[in-house]
Amino acid sequence: MECVFGLVGEGFAVVAADTSAVHSILVHKSNEDKIMVLDSHKLIAASGEPGDRVQFTEYIQKNVALYQFRNGIPLTTAAAANFTRGELATALRKNPYSVNILLAGYDKETGPALYYIDYIATLHKVDKGAFGYGSYFSLSTMDRHYHSRMSVEEAIDLVDKCIVEIRSRLVVAPPNFVIKIVDKDGAREYAWRETVKDSIASSA
């Protein structure tokens, strides 16, 4: 029941993901961060098989960093997205990764961008995208309220509307979400939306 969704606004891109780590009927933890900061101006929100998710996104992150070390300049969002698609496509007929990815980035020249990359390496640049069962609710909500060049407040409001919809309509809805944003000032965590707090010492 992993939910990942994102949209592009005026000069920024925002992605949100649920934070439950689930194994069959057991919730291991409710504060698992599924949105990795790829580099200073890129975010990779991934959903899917937990092992593949962490291994694949770390692999992409390290290769993006290697490019920057070797060449002295960072990859553009489009280049990083195409590299990710290439790795997924190469592995597809050998040892496929079960990871769906939303790659959000900001380039000085081209502005914000969001790329939809599904687990069989279909790549498409989108204004709004979503994966998982939550996508049935979040995509429709975004279709209704989204317009181009939204402000940060409007976009976060829309993200919250999607989270409310997922919480109320999805049978095994994840309790907590993390929202991250990327704009000209870089990629950073924006907020958490928690209904269940993970604590080590729970009430006896």
């Binding site: 698609r85 496509a89 597809l92 007929r93 939809y116 599904d118 069989i120 390496a121 279909t122 790549l123 498409h124 989108v126 995208g129 996508s135 049935y136 995509l139």
Partner: protein, 204 residues
């Protein structure tokens, strides 16, 4: 559901008087869910050769990248662009290489050959070429497309009439197919110019 119907697609190529037209739908779906309504299925190889790829989107993207690579190398070595017949043979060979683990794509190739003679062909996913003098169709709506094209086609149409015919055939066929549609993308190619047009059809 067949793997060829996973993303949904519709493609036509038609022959006119010293010109050709190639048209596709614009939907990118994941089975029943629509992801994008601006997906590109037709690619320009050079000014007088266009390639349409229907079927699984990830394989269409991989195949397109491999073919463009091969064509660019050909262009560097031969110092000229490929003829449509040659390109079709190359696509067929590339597909048959993967005979026992194929790309799940059906290409449509349309080009202007020597003396501005239009050339169209399609092939199945393992490279069986089908040359035609009038029209070729592929995609999830192929049966409807065959019927519509057979009814509307006349030989030796000029560019404008060809555009009308191919557009009507495409839109009326995709309206009967839930997996393709959301508008159309039409290229009409004459010896002097390439006209690209976007069609607005039923958006559902």
């Amino acid at each position: 559901m067949s793997i060829f119907e996973y993303n949904g697609s519709a493609l036509i190529a038609m022959v006119g008087k010293n010109c050709f037209a190639i048209a596709s739908d614009r939907r990118l779906g994941v089975q029943l869910q629509t992801i994008a309504t601006d997906f590109q299925r037709i690619y320009k190889i050079h000014d007088r050769l266009f390639l349409g790829l229907s079927g699984l989107a990830t394989d269409a993207q991989t195949l397109y990248q491999r073919l463009v690579f091969r064509h660019k190398l050909y262009q560097l070595r031969e110092e000229r662009v490929m003829k449509p017949e040659t390109f079709a043979s190359m696509v067929s060979a590339l597909l048959y290489e993967k005979r026992f683990g194929p790309y799940f794509c059906q290409p449509v190739i349309a080009g202007l050959g020597d003396e501005d003679k239009p050339f169209i062909c399609t092939m199945d996913s393992i490279g069986a070429k089908e040359l035609a003098k009038d029209f070729v169709v592929t995609g999830t709506a192929s049966e409807s497309l065959y019927g519509a094209c057979e009814a509307m086609f006349k030989p030796d149409m000029e560019a404008e009439e060809l555009f009308e015919t191919i557009s009507q055939a495409l839109l009326s066929s995709v309206d009967r197919d839930c997996l393709s549609g959301w508008g159309g993308h039409v290229y009409v190619v004459t010896p002097t110019e390439v006209k690209e047009r976007i069609l607005k059809g039923r958006m559902d």
